[in-house]
């Protein structure tokens, strides 16, 4: 599968060589062809998209520059608020809700000339690693439709992989951008916590959530980061200043860059073919002039435990507001208390209920210190261990996902098995650091493997430099293993 990238589309639209409308129709055509099979979208907003594309074309015709993403179709994860357009989080409880405002990232994409084509499927409220927890049915992996696309941003990853849009937005709380990017063979970025506004992102784990892009190329991903990132006064946890100037450094190479392979992410639980691709990636970086060594980051082995206390705790509170009073669905009952219980019981799926109860439990009197308090201290350990590694290394690498895409239904019976998909991605969220997944060949089953490049807070420039070199090396390999 080979599709046009966002940069070349924007360049041709800005130059007047192609119209945004032509570009859009080409993508809508592909959606018409394969969407029934893939189910990447909860909603395709054809009419709005056509109007936006026409406006872009009118701007170009009038001699104005619509922006760096002129005429580029973009798919938006359905947990990002879009004014007047249903935003469901793939939950029955929000079915039909039309937010009265746009998320900051949605506004910024529009201001850059992008054309939103629809809202993509996800695990309900972004809780999951396979997009099977959607109230509206699973998304399928475009590389093999018997397999999952990963999750929770599976719809956004699949939309790019299937050529429905060259770029898309997802959100990443414990790997929800990087893991589906790896499984769908596209680039996915989780920026440093605070670099991209969360205003208008429906909250899951507020201290972990971060919005980021999917793209075919590292350069496209870098551009989208710069467009949607940077300070937003509407988000108190937003870092002052612009997103690091990653697009300027994409061709800097990795000469002299110090790269560490995370020992704890290469052993138990990691499929050998995936580990082999990471070693190949390390070799490619070394060949390009980086110094590569193994490094131990001991605390990462505690990531899963800490994450499954912190994220559900925050989620249990964030998801309280779905009470049937102000928005979304309601199941009527005799009293408000009963109505709230009936609404939430009918409106949430099992995974969401599981995490709400888990989070409620770990915050409750008598258990707080043992669970939530301990998990918060482990976050500090995680930060310290990463800090120590980043004293010696500029970036770290690891697998993104322990395996390639697994079969639909394979891991739904046992939550813990599903959670283990995120062992390599979770530590970054706990630390608030940056990481991205870059496609690097395929596994023994012929399915895509992603290599994760990890960087300290605000380490996006070296992270993208390494990613660009890996992308070039993968291309040079001819896409083969």
């Amino acid at each position: 599968m080979s599709f046009a990238d966002a940069l070349s589309i924007a360049a041709s639209v800005r130059a007047g060589d192609r119209t945004a409308t032509e570009v859009l129709e080409e993508h809508l055509g592909r959606i018409a062809e394969r969407e029934t099979e893939i189910h990447a979208f909860n909603l395709v907003t054809e009419q709005d998209a056509r109007a936006t594309a026409a406006a872009v074309d009118a701007a170009v015709a009038a001699g104005n520059d619509p922006g760096p993403l002129a005429g580029v179709p973009v798919a938006i994860k359905d947990n990002l608020c879009t004014r007047g357009v249903p935003t469901t989080c793939s939950s029955k409880i929000l079915e039909g809700w039309r937010p009265p405002y746009d998320a900051t990232v949605v506004q910024r994409l529009a201001a850059a000339g992008a054309v939103a084509v629809g809202k993509t499927n996800l695990d309900e409220f972004a809780m999951g690693s396979s997009t099977e927890n959607s109230a509206f049915g699973p998304t399928r992996n475009p590389h093999d439709t018997s397999r999952v696309p990963g999750g929770s941003s599976g719809g956004s990853a699949a939309a790019v992989a299937a050529g429905f849009a060259p770029i898309s937005l997802g959100s990443d709380t414990g790997g929800s951008i990087r893991q589906p990017a790896a499984l769908c063979g596209v680039v996915g970025v989780k920026p440093t916590y605070g670099l991209v506004s969360r205003l208008g992102l429906v909250a899951f784990g507020s201290s972990l959530d971060q919005v980021g892009p999917f793209a075919h190329t590292v350069a496209d991903a870098a551009l989208v980061c710069e467009v949607v990132g940077g300070h937003d006064a509407g988000d108190s946890t937003s870092i002052p200043g612009d997103f690091p100037a990653v697009t300027e450094h994409l061709s800097d190479g990795v000469s002299g860059l110090r790269v560490g392979i995370v020992t704890e992410m290469m052993g138990e639980g990691i499929a050998p073919d995936v580990a082999a691709r990471v070693r190949a990636a390390a070799a490619a970086l070394a060949a390009a002039g980086a110094t590569v060594e193994e490094v131990s980051v001991p605390a990462v082995t505690f990531g899963l435990s800490a994450y499954y206390l912190v994220a559900p705790a925050e989620a249990s509170s964030n998801l309280s507001r779905y009470d049937g009073v102000r928005f979304g669905n309601r199941i009527e009952a005799a009293t408000t208390g009963e109505m709230m219980t009936a609404t939430r019981t009918a409106g949430f799926g099992d995974e969401v209920k599981r995490r709400i109860m888990l989070g409620t439990f770990v915050l409750s009197a008598g258990y707080f210190d043992a669970f939530y308090g301990t998990a918060q201290k482990v976050r500090t350990l995680m930060r310290q261990d990463f800090d120590a590694a980043y004293e010696q290394f500029d970036v770290l690498i690891s697998p993104t996902s322990p395996t390639t895409a697994f079969a639909i239904g394979d891991k739904t019976a046992d939550p813990m098995t599903m959670y283990l998909n995120d062992i390599c991605t979770i530590p970054t969220n706990l630390a608030g650091h940056a990481a991205m997944s870059v496609p690097f060949g395929t596994g023994d089953d012929g399915l895509p493997v992603g290599v994760q490049v990890l960087a300290p807070a605000l380490g996006e420039i070296p992270m993208f430099r390494a990613a660009a070199v890996l992308e070039a090396a993968a291309l040079a390999e001819g896409g083969a293993k």
């Binding site: 989080c89 937010p99 909250a203 988000d235 108190s236 409750s364 707080f368």
Partner: protein, 472 residues
């Protein structure tokens, strides 16, 4: 019910919530204004819409610092926490409040009678919306349904938690009145108890005199005026004493004050402690006011009521308890200015205390006020005339001499008054006989007669003195 206060001691601690006088809400740009069409002061955060985020209003922090300094608190590094509970008027189904680390800690407040009450903490939090219960006479339990208006949701509140240092209903009222004066003085609140911009929850317990340990307390809600605060405390303390004296024990409860029947009623028993699952609010960052900000606020704080009372008392020689009302009315500056113009301190304060209840009194010109007091102390106006002239001065802003002249108030020659009194005695020998025999009721007959004869110009006190002198 009344309590034997020789045997029992009442212990009261008050939690006062005050809405802060900001233009917008604590965490969003929706306006902070009382009333309004339902659900018009709203934005995504006010309604707790998915994806909305809080951003802290700097002015609310500024006002909290002012109050903290006015209450002699430690203003400290603080964080917000989420208090989780489900309720339809709480839009996010959690309240953003402060828990472990409030912005103000460990302060004190001095009552007009000189007692000092400890302040445990003062913390910022958001207000809830309001529900109207439809059907069933508007009572919550009988309603057919309820309607929720979120205009008030997110309005900044400062919760000021006092220590259980109060020992009577009277002190509790004085505490709230004093706190209100302070909040108004620093511009933090409009202090309207009746409109709910200030809300008082009181924790009441009783113990036998001499006991070291505090009794089990009950929290009383729905106290909407100073008067009901006093009544509620007295009722609740008596109820608790009755329970204990009849061999029962007080259970820790939240009780509701009912103004109509003058009783407190059980709201709920705290047998199953609420589990609010507090945790640090991840959507907000820490507040660290730092010494510079704190000193900047301290430098512009107005003089507070306690200090103003001490100043007025010291400079006039009038005892502290008498100047309290004058300071509460904001007339202390006027008095001090009038005294500086040469007015007698005692007479000046007395007028402010008794004759200047009108809100416009604060606009009096100090020089004219001083001139009036001087006319009185110089004997050119009687106390009654001075009061009349003062009232008109407040109304019109006129000069006292002009008003007195227009009213025909002139100083009476003392000889003239004596002549009138003697004439009256001569004309009414029977009444005079009764007066001399000590019938106090007849005094009014003579004073009234003199007033009638002089057209009200006579000084009542002088008439009484003259009658006494004639009696011998």
């Amino acid at each position: 019910m009344s309590i034997d206060l020789d045997a029992w001691e009442i212990v009261v601690g008050l939690e006062v919530h005050t809405e802060l006088l900001t233009r917008t809400k604590l965490f969003s740009s929706a306006i902070n204004e009382f009333g309004g069409e339902p659900n018009t002061h709203i934005d995504p955060l006010t309604l707790g819409l998915p994806g909305s985020l809080p951003v802290l209003n700097e002015q609310a922090v500024e006002l909290a610092i002012r109050v903290g300094l006015a209450l002699n608190c430690e203003v400290q590094r603080s964080v917000f926490a989420r208090k989780n509970y489900f309720y339809p008027d709480l839009p996010k189904d959690y309240q953003i409040s402060q828990f472990d680390l409030p912005i103000c800690a460990e302060g004190s407040l001095e009552l007009p009678n000189g007692k000092v009450v400890g302040i445990e903490r003062a913390h910022l939090e958001e207000d809830t919306g309001k529900s109207t219960h439809v059907g069933g006479g508007g009572r919550i339990h009988d309603a057919q349904h309820s309607l929720v208006d979120y205009n008030r949701a997110g309005v900044p509140l400062l919760e000021i938690v006092g220590k259980p240092d109060l020992r009577s209903a009277e002190d509790a009222r004085a505490y709230v009145a004093e706190l209100r004066s302070i909040l108004v003085a620093v511009g933090a609140s409009d202090g309207k108890l009746e409109e709910g911009s200030m809300r008082v929850d009181c924790n009441v317990s009783v113990r036998r005199r001499g006991d070291a340990e505090l009794g089990t307390r009950c929290e009383i809600k729905n106290v909407n005026s100073l008067r009901s605060l006093g009544r509620a405390i007295e009722y609740e303390a008596a109820r608790q004493v009755d329970l204990i004296e009849s061999g029962e024990r007080v259970r820790q409860q939240t009780r509701h004050w009912n103004e109509d029947d003058g009783r407190t009623h059980t709201l709920r028993t705290k047998e199953e402690a609420d589990d609010y699952r507090y945790f640090t609010e991840p959507d907000l960052v820490e507040i660290d006011p730092g010494p510079e900000w704190i000193e900047r606020v301290r430098a512009v704080l107005p003089m507070l009521p306690a200090a103003r009372r001490h100043r007025l008392s010291t400079e006039t020689g009038v005892p502290l308890e008498r100047v309290a009302l004058v300071v509460e009315r904001g007339l202390d500056e006027l008095c001090l200015a009038a005294i500086a113009e040469g007015a007698d301190p005692e007479r000046t304060v007395t007028h402010a205390e008794h004759n200047l209840s009108d809100a416009k009194a604060a606009d009096l010109d100090p020089a004219k006020f001083a001139a009036l007091v001087q006319l009185e102390t110089g004997g050119e106006l009687t106390a009654t005339q001075a009061k009349t002239v003062l009232a008109e001065m407040v109304e019109t802003g006129g000069a006292p001499a002009d008003i007195a002249a227009a009213k025909g108030f002139e100083a009476m020659e003392s000889g003239e008054l004596e002549g009138i009194v003697d004439g009256l005695i001569a004309a009414h020998p029977e009444e005079w006989q009764r007066y001399c025999e000590g019938d106090g009721k007849i005094t009014g007959f003579f004073v009234g007669g003199v007033m009638k004869a002089t057209g009200g110009k006579a000084d009542g006190k002088a008439v009484t003195a003259l009658l006494q002198a004639r009696k011998g």
